[in-house]
């Protein structure tokens, strides 16, 4: 049985699943910390109630993120041992640093935060949640530094058929990670903001706990706006970077077959790559050049020309990633990004005018579904990042097909893939059940009961 394809599938399933939980952890830790800061500064018990209510939802989500994260660290060695052997000298370091600097910090102080409400002073307790938020967000940097090496290898040498680290600081200053890291941090804030907005809207439209949810909504809209503007700016800088470091990914995301100067931005394209032609397309002239270079002219290379260039450089082979996925994941991600920006602006107007949301029936039913937008955008963003890199596992240095474990056979991967999928399915049901239950129940009075 083909263990390569199954291992890829397993990586996709476990990683996309893991990343359902990560952005909310990143963002909601910060938002909970902001609420608790307001409580400590203003002494207003309402903010304590908010920190406790949103904090409880944070904890349910956090547990899922932690346990699915362990799988990530193990499976590089389990399913991708030849990759690990080839790149371990470089790739292992940020993973170890991530655990030592970030995971210890977030998990130890989260324990203190959960159990310490009545054991430590207000300020120490506040410090604990900030350390959780800092720990989570630092961890994102290290894992993204590792991922960025796969996207854009820097600071390495090749010795005895293995990559070796030559410059640790090149790894940390990789231009790719400084696009990815802020993009992910901001999208974490957006995810948490929409999570709060969706749940607050649900209650506001039903006229429940108006004061509590209005305050929550206000904080979320402000943080969400900061987040979405950051996401869009960093996303734009990503495409400017791609045209230099991974032109094939950009061309695939754009469905750009032939090199163009100036290049047009595709709004809708169906490509037949085998026949080398676009079946159907609608496009905006020169806009792609503008996105890539901030100028209405500039050459953007096309898929077919890049394929030819890479065949000369790396030898015969197919260097074109999955075009359908690259093209549509990009459009879904970007489209949802702007939709979320629009929603946030509308909500901001309502908040500034101190108006309540219109109580249309369809809105009451549909409103909570805004929570799904950042999730879909996060997942499609990663699918584009990882699928657009194919056939490379380390760009230009190792192909994915050479990275898979030799001694693990397809049957074993199939068995674990099926079990992971089943277990993850069951856990998702339990997770969503609890989140919905606590979100609907709203803030509890006994959240404020203090131990005698």
């Amino acid at each position: 049985m083909n263990s390569l394809f199954l291992s890829q599938l397993q990586f996709a399933v476990t990683t996309v699943y893991h990343f359902f939980f990560v952005p909310l952890t990143l963002g909601l830790s910060v938002l909970t910390a902001i609420m608790e800061t307001l409580y400590v500064q203003k002494g207003d018990e309402n903010y304590k109630k908010m920190a406790k209510f949103w904090g409880k939802l944070f904890l349910i989500n956090f547990a899922m993120g932690v346990v699915t994260g362990i799988v990530q660290e193990f499976q590089f060695g389990m399913n991708w041992s030849e990759y690990s052997r080839f790149v371990g000298d470089i790739f292992g370091a940020p993973l170890a640093v991530e655990a030592l600097l970030a995971f210890f910090l977030e998990s130890t102080f989260l324990g203190l935060w959960i159990f310490g409400w009545d054991r430590v002073s207000k300020r120490v307790h506040l410090l604990a949640i900030w350390l959780v938020a800092i720990g989570s967000n630092i961890s994102a940097f290290w894992i993204l530094a590792a991922n960025s090496f796969m996207q854009n290898p820097v600071g390495y040498g090749l010795e005895n058929g293995r990559l070796v680290m030559k410059d640790f600081f090149a790894l940390l200053t990789n231009q790719y990670v400084w696009g990815q890291f802020p993009h992910v941090i901001f999208s974490g804030l957006v995810t948490a903001a929409f999570f709060i907005i969706g749940i607050s809207g649900y209650h506001l439209l039903r006229k429940q706990n108006l004061d509590f949810y209005n305050r929550s909504m206000k904080i979320a809209v402000i943080v969400g706006l900061i987040g979405i503007v950051g996401v869009i700016i960093m996303g734009d800088s990503q495409s400017k970077r791609l045209v230099r470091v991974q032109p094939m990914k950009l061309a695939a995301a754009e469905g750009l077959l032939k090199t163009e100067n100036p290049a047009s931005l595709s709004l809708f394209t169906i490509i037949d790559a085998d026949a080398g032609k676009q079946m159907m397309h609608i496009e905006l002239p020169s806009v792609l050049s503008f996105l890539a270079f901030n100028s209405f002219d500039g050459e953007v290379k096309g898929i077919l020309d890049l394929q030819q260039e890479y065949t000369q450089k790396y030898g015969a082979g197919n260097y074109i990633p999955n075009l359908f996925m690259s093209y549509w994941t990009f459009r879904i991600m970007v489209g949802l990004g702007f939709l979320m920006l629009a929603i946030l602006i509308v909500l901001l107007v309502y908040i500034m005018r101190k108006q309540s949301l219109p109580s249309w029936k369809w809105l009451t039913v549909l409103f909570p579904w805004v929570i799904s937008f950042p999730y879909i955008a996060n997942s499609t963003g990663w699918l584009l990042t990882e699928l657009g890199r194919q056939p490379w596992i380390v760009y230009g240095l190792m192909k994915t097909s050479d990275g898979v474990s030799i001694v693990v056979d397809g049957g074993e991967v199939l068995a674990t893939l099926i079990l992971f999928t089943l277990v993850y399915g069951v856990l998702m049901v339990a997770d969503v059940y609890l989140l919905v239950k606590y979100a609907k129940a709203g803030p509890q009075e006994n959240d404020l009961v203090v131990e005698a």
Binding site: E73, E82, D89, F91, A96, F103, T108, T416
Partner: protein, 333 residues
């Protein structure tokens, strides 16, 4: 001292930290459905490890990360070679972690007892399988000239490894029982102590069998024998202390037993990290499976700064939650 040795030591320290700390978490988890006679008692039991289990688990993540960073050849060979046991460990850790958080967040008795069993089985699997894995490191597994494991799954379940698994399982149960009798009151405390006393002779028996098998099957170094003997002596004293109801001292000695047993394995391995039973020359060592000196240097600087900091704040949180957990307290989990 060269950096390869330093990192071999550090990996040893991280796994000692993991086994000593998560060891009692696993014991507590395994005992949960048997010791907790009703829901409140079960909550008390879970709350004894509540603030700590997640931080304790990071010792494993850091240990795994350290192996990846410092000995990527070891990481690649073991993780792909021990594929199914590691998968079972992962399943255990997944269920257990989620269960600890979810268990008390709903009143339904079926919900709660399901998660209780998830905690129990999810603790049982890693407690058993880490012993199996480490015993295999020592006795040797089929590693070929290309440093690939070629033994398949059943090879890992040889008798020697299984005895190793029984030892880690019983050791963690005992460690957890002693921890519980230190952190609870009343009937839970008393039954935990009873269990510790009952487990003791079985664990001693397993240890004796393991020692005999080791003498016959493995060529133990003198130093490893000394450290292993120390482990057995400390273990005997810890049993004696528990019998005398001096549980605090018993717990410290139980932790020391785990430390010394793990140390004995690392001493026996040195300078190898994974023994090949096909050809000694094919064994993985701290030199032929290591990362470059540059990477080891960078990692050493990071570790020497941050390991003490982590130790300091973890010790502080243990001190903060040093009180016994009672049924009258507000139980978070």
């Amino acid at each position: 001292m060269d950096l390869n040795i330093l990192w071999f030591l550090l990996v040893g320290v991280l796994f000692v930290g993991y086994f000593v700390l998560e060891g009692f978490d696993y014991g507590v988890g395994i005992l949960l459905p048997f010791l907790g006679k009703n829901d409140v008692q079960r909550r008390v039991i879970i709350n004894t490890i509540g603030p700590h289990w997640d931080g304790n688990e990071v010792w494993l993540l850091t240990g795994g990360g350290a192996i990846f960073a410092a000995f990527s050849g070891w990481y690649a060979t073991v993780f792909s070679g021990f594929y199914l046991p590691l998968f079972l460990i992962l399943l255990g850790l997944i269920f257990r972690g989620v269960a600890l958080e979810f268990r008390s967040k709903d009143d339904n008795p079926v919900w709660r007892s399901s998660w209780d069993w998830a905690i129990c089985v999810g603790s049982f699997l890693p407690a058993l399988l880490w012993g199996v894995a480490f015993a295999n490191f020592v006795i040797g597994v089929p590693i070929n000239a290309a440093h690939q494991y070629v033994g398949g799954f059943w090879n890992l379940l040889n008798p020697y490894a299984l005895v190793g698994g029984v030892i880690s399982l019983l050791g963690f149960i005992l460690h957890g029982a002693v921890f519980l009798s230190l952190k609870t009151t009343g009937s839970i405390m008393e039954s935990a102590r009873e269990i510790a006393k009952k487990v003791f002779p079985f664990l001693l028996g397993a240890m004796v069998i393991f020692v005999i098998l080791s003498v016959v099957l493995v060529n133990f170094s003198v130093l490893a024998i000394v450290v292993a003997s120390l482990a057995v002596i400390v273990f005997l004293v810890s049993g004696w202390m528990v019998r005398q109801n001096r549980v605090g001292l018993g717990f410290i000695l139980s932790a020391a037993t785990i430390l010394l047993s793990t140390a004995a394995i690392f001493v026996q391995l040195f300078p190898r990290v994974l023994v090949s039973n096909l050809n000694p020359a094919w064994s993985l060592t701290i030199y032929n499976s290591s990362s470059s000196q540059y990477t080891l240097t960078i990692m050493s600087i990071v570790a020497l700064i941050f390991v003490p900091i982590v130790l300091a704040y973890q010790i502080w949180t243990y001190w903060l939650f040093k009180k016994r957990v009672t049924e009258k307290m507000k139980l978070e989990y």
